[in-house]
């Protein structure tokens, strides 16, 4: 387990990149690079990182990056992995880095195919729960009740459970992370790097612009997401589900903060009724019953 002191000083995402102030994805990129080092090839579809990497002729990352069409991250990564194998390059980690739209919606088929083929790469979904780059439209990862530009009165369906969909592929490693818990984040990525096969990491990536909270509150909002249990940190290693330390103690419902604290801190939930909040609280509690069963097995 890494400690803060042991983190590499080297930065691979450069200052002056065009990410929004307080962007959860930019913090996640910084942590991801610190965890994986410089020997990374990134494949990025249409998403906020299309912008964050900087426009031609600049580049904000110190790793090679191939941009690819929206729905094709898993497939293009398969091609890179195959080519590196033919070139006998074994010390490079291939990372697919996509948003929630590019993962849970339009890119699901290519990702599912890559996982089924046991492609040796890390797929990272940074999930800001909407199509952020086009200005916050609803995605399959948008939570119940959230305002987006295509759900102006709030989404009426719950979030798609993407980590569990990936776990159902039988891949060796699935983990959820959030940049508010950087050591947990880095340790999981380092573990993923050591495992052969398809590794899936799902980041809940707080988005000040889209979620309507001040850019200085990103870490705080992320902590609330974990403390209320609306986002659980866990790993599924070779099929074995294990809650990570920040979440493990929340199995006891009394330890979880009410979801209202998380919801009230964000403008996107400002139209929620008491009934909506109760509905979300119930959804969270039911989800934790599921985690309880998984943890027991």
């Amino acid at each position: 387990m890494v400690t803060l002191k042991e983190l590499p000083k080297e930065e691979y995402i450069l200052k002056g990149n065009p990410a929004c102030a307080g962007c959860g994805a930019a913090i996640s990129l910084r942590l991801m690079f610190k965890a994986l080092g410089r020997k990374v090839i990134m494949i990025v579809p249409a998403c906020c990182t299309t912008v964050i990497q900087g426009p031609y002729p600049y580049t904000a990352f110190k790793v090679p990056l191939l941009n690819i069409v929206f729905e094709a991250t898993g497939a293009a990564a398969s091609g890179i992995v195959a080519a590196l194998k033919k070139r006998c390059i074994e010390d490079v980690t291939v990372v697919g880095w996509a948003g929630d739209g590019g993962t849970v919606d339009i890119g699901l088929q290519a990702l599912s195919g890559a996982a089924e083929r046991e492609t040796n790469f890390i797929y990272i979904c940074y999930d800001n729960e909407a199509y952020g780059n086009t200005g916050m439209q609803r995605s399959g990862a948008t939570p119940f009740g959230a305002w987006t530009t295509t759900t102006p009165t709030g989404k009426r369906e719950h979030k798609k459970d993407m980590p569990m969909i990936m776990a159902a592929h039988g891949i060796p490693y699935v983990a959820t992370v959030i940049p508010s818990y950087p050591l947990d984040f880095i340790n999981k990525l380092r573990k993923a790097k050591q495992i052969k096969g398809t590794k899936y990491i799902h980041i809940l990536s707080p988005c000040p612009t889209g979620w309507r909270f001040p850019g200085s509150k990103t870490i705080e909002i992320g902590r609330l997401a974990v403390q209320t249990g609306i986002w659980a940190l866990y790993e599924i290693e070779n099929g074995e589900f294990k809650l990570s330390p920040p979440s493990a103690r929340l199995l006891d419902k009394s330890k979880r903060k009410p979801v209202e604290l998380y919801l009230k801190a964000q403008g996107r939930f400002r139209n929620l009724t008491d009934r909506d909040i109760a509905e979300i609280q119930q959804w969270v509690d039911e989800t934790w019953e599921k985690y309880k069963r998984l943890q027991a097995n």
Binding site: R38, K39, V40, I41, I43, T50, V51, Q53, G54, P55, Y56, P57, T59, A60, F61, K62, V63, P64, L65, L66, N67, I68, V69, E71, A72, G74, A75, A76, A77, S78, G79, I80, V81, A82, A83, L84, K85, K86, R87, V92, Q109, A110, S112, G113, E116, R117
Partner: protein, 396 residues
């Protein structure tokens, strides 16, 4: 030294991919292309072909995987038909824009709806403007030779664009013909290992194909057009060199048959260009000075060659296996566009007639082509085209 292989054009395409020492194949089955990827699977699993074979879950992913592999610095191959090609459309643009010299066998099949598994060029011609070179083959030998040639042309630093090597489904894909394949060492000498124009490299990191503002985008497009012009010069050179080494030449951009003294020149593509040779021989016996120009490369389009043909002929007749709805056959349009003069001149260009034949796989015999030529001949003598686009053999 050559070895003779008697096989279908599909299997021959697989032999060519093997001979080109392709390192990554990503493919998805579709009729009538399927036997290409089946044969490659055999080659890879038996160890005859030293390649990674990615059995993707769609053609969109097939092309995306080829983009990834080629960007990581290895020679790649795929194959598809019709709806598979249409599904790839977005990634076709991406491959050309990324300047990746991927070679793909396209086994031409008519687009639905309604479903058809028979050939026409509606699939590949719909991809005309994606920045891919397009070759159209007349027989199995040409399929083999063109795949090898395409890698040499596309990987040239002056080109760096992908290519489709097209052949008509069923007519060629499932028809056995003898093909002479050079020895592997001879092919290796003609086609050296892939030296990528650029590749993803952790020691030389940069973002590839990131956002480009209007300040730069147009220059990237200009470079592709430039590369196409370079390809136009290179294709006949490479075809001649291949011919010198191995004995097979296919006419470079356009294969001409009895065109020198011809009053009427038939212009077509693919197997109709092979069938039409018999028609020309028969028409010549009747005293009609008819020639044949088979457009082998549709992109880059050989407009200079078309202009040369027009210098002596009185009429050009395009026989198209595809229609651009709301306009006419593709060749008819391209020929007319090529002939439109940039300066005023006393002499008119030749008349251009357009016939649509063989759409959706309807049989086109040498007799059909003779009748098309005779109809054209009559119009040529009268100095007037009676019908702008003729749907040949259309049911009443």
């Amino acid at each position: 030294m050559t070895q003779t292989i008697i096989d279908t054009a599909n299997h021959i395409a697989a032999y060519a991919a093997k001979a080109a020492r392709v390192k990554v194949v990503a493919a998805y089955p579709i009729t009538p292309q399927t036997t290409i990827v089946e044969k490659i699977a055999e080659f890879v699993e038996s160890g005859e072909m030293d390649a990674e074979y990615i059995r993707v879950e769609s053609e969109h992913s097939a092309m995306a995987a080829c983009v990834g592999a080629e960007a990581a610095g290895v020679r790649t191959f795929t194959a598809t038909s019709a709806h598979g090609l249409a599904l790839m459309h977005e990634v076709l643009h991406w491959a050309a824009g990324s300047r990746l010299p991927i070679v793909m066998a396209v086994v031409n099949r008519a687009m639905g709806a309604p479903w058809s598994i028979w050939p026409d060029f509606s699939d590949s011609l719909s991809q005309r403007d994606t920045g891919w070179l397009q070759f159209y083959c007349a027989d199995n030998q040409e399929v083999f030779d063109t795949i090898i040639q395409a890698y040499k042309i596309c990987e040239d630093k002056r080109v760096l664009l992908p290519a489709m090597v097209c052949s008509e489904g069923l007519i060629l894909s499932h028809t056995f013909m003898p093909v002479k394949a050079p020895e592997q060492e001879e092919i290796d000498d003609f086609l050296p290992p892939y030296d990528p124009g650029w590749a993803l490299d952790v020691d030389n990191p940069f973002s590839h194909a990131n956002l480009v503002s209007p300040e730069w985008y147009m220059e990237f497009r200009y470079m592709i057009q430039n590369a196409m012009e370079n390809a136009k010069r290179l294709i006949p050179e490479v075809d001649r060199e291949y011919g010198r080494r191995f004995g097979f030449e296919h006419g470079g951009l356009i294969e001409k048959y009895q065109c020198e003294d011809a009053d009427l020149i038939l212009v077509t593509m693919g197997t109709m260009g092979s069938e039409a040779k018999i028609s020309v021989n028969n028409l010549r016996k009747e005293g009609l000075k008819v020639g044949l120009a088979r457009v082998r490369v549709f992109r880059p389009f050989p407009k200079e060659e078309i202009r040369k043909l027009a210098e002596n002929a009185q009429m050009l007749t395009a026989i198209d296996r595809h229609v651009s709805f709301g306009m006419e056959g593709f060749l008819a349009t391209e020929i007319k566009a090529s002939l439109y003069s940039r300066e005023k001149s006393a002499s008119d260009p030749p008349l251009v007639a357009g016939f649509l034949a063989g759409i959706g796989g309807r049989d086109v015999t040498y007799r059909d082509i003779e009748l098309i030529a005779k109809k054209s001949w009559k119009w040529m003598q009268a100095g007037k085209i009676e019908e702008e686009t003729v749907w040949w053999n259309l049911r009443e």
